[in-house]
Symmetry: C2
């Protein structure tokens, strides 16, 4: 047996630097493939392929207008990511809270 992970999940999709650059480029709003190719300096096929991956995991969507394709972010699909990350921050805060409680108990103990 060998590998197990695929490019078909959001976490993997944002693993690639160039794909993150493309997402960044789209923050400003809808853009043509050609525009992205210009903004970042990547080859057109490279951009198209990365857009395909991003598209498959739902992070971007595509709209045809004549012979060009306008890609845009699909912000709702960032939520799983955000929720995952926040979980850890949450765990951290919870632990800090428990620490606070503990310290307060200690302090109360001292004053008894």
């Amino acid at each position: 047996m060998a590998r197990s992970s695929t490019t078909s999940d959001v976490f993997n999709a944002i693993g690639d630097v160039h794909r993150r650059e493309i997402l960044d480029a789209l923050i400003a709003g809808e853009k043509t493939v050609g525009a992205i190719v210009n903004d970042l300096s990547m080859s057109q096929p490279q951009v198209s392929k990365h857009l395909r991956v991003l598209s498959e995991v739902g992070l971007v969507k595509c709209r045809a207008e004549g012979r060009r394709r306008l890609y845009r972010l699909e912000p709702e699909h960032f939520r799983p990511l955000r929720e995952w990350v926040v979980k850890y921050e949450q765990a951290w805060n919870d632990r800090m809270d428990r620490l606070d409680d503990y310290l307060q108990e200690l302090q109360q103990g001292e004053h008894q």
Copy 2:
């Protein structure tokens, strides 16, 4: 030329399912390598190797106690991730705000 991305950044580190499982296992708190091996069912070398990667990007830290190693999360190092994700949510909200402004202007125009 071929690849460019390495395993040496946080985004790549969380790209792997098993590494995410390990992180999840550590949410509860510090754990031994053996404990992780038991909790998830992965081989010990596999776990050790993933822990190494997670360690290199700073997501976990290690503490030696006798002949065992206790690994724990390093929540501060999740911040770059969170900030990156939140950026997109932010961009989304901003756009919604501008839309609101626009709609309000339209409405005011109607009433003049």
